[in-house]
């Protein structure tokens, strides 16, 4: 192109004078790294405001910080065990009040589950029988288990079982949405079903662990 003065020679597309550099090649170096983290400033900052109001707010701020840590809303993370038992720990225990939110204002799924998680499958079945609606469901489960027992096919029956239980769970969700206990039982059931599956899994599993897991055959050695 006619504009090139020569190879490698920089040619500006604009009037360099306008930017402030004369035609000489006194351009500043290209900066190849980010600016420093703590640059020196030419002008030092103005001192902070002082006064009665500011002092009071400062004291308030620090007090609030301490108070918030003692409120029931501050959820502590479980600490690792301290290596040395400190004498003063006895005197620094903070007694936190229990806070119970107003459940009427919160979504129903916020309520903690009333029943404990690790209840065995037997107790769950017992609970099931106490509810009218789920009686039929439980009866279905028992019937299907009997059918599958007769079939004697371990793996396949497990999957079918899981599907059926999953399906039943969904139907349970559909029917019993309005029941508070059932709402808890939904989530409860989901985790619980897995345990039930495990129980049944081990019952139907082929070969390997059958003998070892079952309680009855503890004494006999497997060869």
């Amino acid at each position: 192109m006619a504009g090139n003065k020569g190879r490698g020679r920089a040619a500006y597309t604009f009037n360099i004078e306008a930017v402030g550099f004369s035609r000489g090649e006194k351009l500043p170096d290209v900066v190849l790294k980010p600016p420093p983290l703590f640059p020196d400033t030419d002008y030092k900052p103005v001192p902070l405001k002082t006064g009665e109001g500011e002092d009071y707010m400062l004291a308030l701020k620090q007090e609030l910080r301490e108070t918030m840590k003692r409120m029931p809303y501050y959820i502590e993370t479980p600490e690792e065990k301290q290596d040395i038992e400190r004498y003063s720990k006895r005197y620094m225990k903070v007694y936190k009040e229990e806070w119970i939110p107003d459940w009427r204002r919160l979504p129903r799924e916020m309520m903690p589950r009333k029943k404990c998680k690790k209840a065995g499958p037997k107790s769950e079945k017992a609970k099931d029988t106490s509810k009218g609606v789920s009686l039929t469901n439980t009866a279905d489960v028992l019937k299907k288990i009997e059918e599958l027992e007769k079939r004697g096919d371990g793996e396949k029956s497990d999957e079918e079982n899981e599907e059926k239980e999953g399906g039943k769970e969904k139907s349970k969700e559909g029917d019993e949405e309005d029941d508070d206990d059932a709402a808890e039982q939904e989530e409860y059931d989901e985790e619980e079903q897995e345990e039930e599956n495990d129980y049944i899994n081990s019952y139907f599993e082929d070969g390997d662990d059958f003998g070892a897991d079952s309680d009855d055959n503890m004494d006999e050695a497997t060869y």
Partner: protein, 540 residues
């Protein structure tokens, strides 16, 4: 939400509510509205803990929930509300200046607990005040109630939306989450309660019980079992009203700074403006650009009792204020002796601009500030014109302009002469876009506060061992004093902390105080800038 805001929210939540709540809160701020299970899955926390954290966040009005189709409840965090936690000391101090200790404690309890019923607030505040009073004196519930009613009347506290009491006409399933409603007229309605009683000291409760008639005594001891008269009616602090008050304060002090230094009578113009603002407190919505027009007669009647200025003097002041180039006060008509309004939007704009000017001056020097003010005034200037008007040599002027340009205080406006935008044939004009400069500065403020908090936490952590040691020593001394120890023994225990360690503790305390005070002051700037940006966005 910008990264700086998210970082600041994370630090605030962690300081106030702990790490679990912080994790959930920050996740919600980052990802927006989500249902419960997704939150648990994405953050890797157990369902139980997510529920606890959400309960805390909802209680403090930091997270809202909404029922979507198919009954799924989604939770959304309010980032701007989280940032308000920085301002709690200012709210509480304002309540103290307006309604003294009782008001201060009421607002403090409401802020610390998110929402409370009136009876709970009154009881707690009465107990706290009784603690500070001399022996034998107690705080009456009635006095606390009165202050509460006054706070509600002036809209500093408001009712939370509540579940409407529906009759069970439809036997369908209840919704997965209650729908909370509130109507404008009910927001400040105080329920008719007869709260009778006095505050209780923690130790001398027997003393109090003896002084009260027998009929009222059971109320104290069994108030856990009795139904609360205003159950379900929760109150929260109305932050918008506090913001309105801060804004009024800022305007009044701006007028005082500008006008009152030249008058013999102290603070007349600012007093007039303050009166006008007070008269418009409840009538004008907080987001309005102008207050309602007030006639000069009305203002004259509403001036504080101590002020003995004549009507003509008042009119002169009003004319002076209306003619001032700052345009805080405007004249909107001539009836009633002249109708005057306060230009809230313009006032906020002037305050934001003054903040920007001040920042430029402190960061780049007064000559830069001169150039900045020049460009502000003339709106658009070419390089050559800047040098001429500011009377600063060309090289220095260029240097300063580029420094401000790279700091994003000033921007360039291109005006091409030819359609191909050739640089040699284009005008480049320097201009100040106040809105974008304000946003840039606001973002910087968030970063600053995040840095301040981190530094404070770092300093505290560095000296953790020493702090713990001093706490232990204090605990030992306290227990020894309780069991009655000699002076010599106490002295010995105190010497467990050596002199250089005391020095270190002193330095730490001073640094932490400085960092805390800086946070409070940066928050004031944040308030001004946010108010201006909000006011501008509402007008667009």
């Amino acid at each position: 939400m910008t990264q700086a805001e998210i970082k600041l929210c994370s630090l605030l939540l962690q300081e106030h509510f702990g790490e679990i709540v912080e994790k959930i809160g920050v996740h919600l701020i980052r990802t927006g509205s989500q249902p419960l299970r997704v939150i648990a899955h994405d953050t890797g926390t157990s369902l139980d803990q997510v529920k606890k954290a959400l309960c805390v966040l909802i209680q403090h009005n930091l997270v809202m929930y909404q029922v979507h189709k198919r009954g799924v409840v989604e939770y959304e965090a309010q980032c701007s509300r989280v940032l308000r936690m920085l301002r709690y000391p200012r709210y509480i101090y304002t309540a103290k200046t307006l309604y003294s200790d009782t008001g201060e404690l009421i607002v403090e309890e409401l802020l610390l607990n998110g929402k409370m019923t009136m009876s709970a607030v009154v009881k707690k505040v009465a107990d706290r005040l009784t603690e500070t009073m001399e022996d034998g004196k107690t705080m009456d519930y009635a006095e606390v109630s009165n202050t509460f009613v006054r706070l509600a009347d002036t809209h500093f506290v408001q009712r939370c939306p509540w579940v409407p009491a529906t009759e069970n006409s439809d036997p369908g399933p209840p919704p997965p989450a209650p729908i909370l409603v509130i109507s404008e007229k009910d927001m400040y309605l105080v329920p008719k309660l007869s709260l009778i009683g006095k505050g209780k000291r923690r130790r001398s409760s027997d003393e109090d019980a003896a002084g009260e008639p027998k009929a009222k005594r059971p109320k104290h001891s069994t108030d856990n079992k009795e139904p609360i008269p205003d159950d379900g009616i929760y109150w929260q602090a109305n932050l918008d009203r506090f913001h309105q008050h801060f804004r009024d304060q800022a305007i009044v002090s701006a007028v005082a700074n500008r006008m009152d230094q030249f008058t013999f009578q102290t603070q007349t113009s600012s007093e007039i403006v303050r009166t006008m603002l007070r008269m418009s407190e409840i009538t004008t919505p907080s987001a309005a650009p102008f207050t309602q027009p007030l006639s000069s007669n009305e203002i004259f009647r509403s001036l504080p009792v101590g002020y003995n200025i004549s009507k003509q003097v008042l009119d002169q002041y009003l004319t002076l204020l209306a003619d001032d180039p700052l345009e805080f006060v405007g004249k909107s008509g001539d009836s009633g002796g002249g109708m005057y309004v306060i230009n809230l939007h313009k006032a906020l704009g002037s305050l934001a601009t003054a903040t920007l000017e001040s920042v430029v001056q402190e960061r780049f020097g007064s000559r830069c500030a001169r150039i900045f003010r020049l460009v502000l005034q003339k709106k658009h200037l070419e390089q050559k014109q800047v040098e001429d008007f500011a009377m600063i040599p060309a090289k220095e002027a260029k240097d300063m302009l580029y420094k401000m340009l790279s700091g994003n205080f000033i921007s360039l406006q291109e005006i091409p002469k030819t359609p191909d935008h050739a640089p040699s044939r284009t005008f480049y004009l320097y201009t100040v876009n106040i809105l974008s400069a304000a946003r840039m500065l606001l973002h910087r403020c968030y970063k600053s506060i995040a840095n301040l908090i981190e530094r404070r936490q770092f300093e505290t952590k560095e000296n953790k061992r020493l702090l713990e040691k001093s706490q232990r020593v204090e605990a030992i001394i306290a227990s020894m004093q309780a069991t009655g120890a000699e002076e010599a023994q106490l002295q010995e225990i105190e010497e467990m902390i050596t002199a250089p360690e005391r020095q270190q503790l002193e330095t730490l305390k001073r640094n932490v105080n400085k960092l805390d005070a800086s946070e409070i002051q940066v928050d004031e700037t944040i308030f001004l800038l946010e108010s201006y940006i909000e006011s501008t966005m509402k007008r667009q």
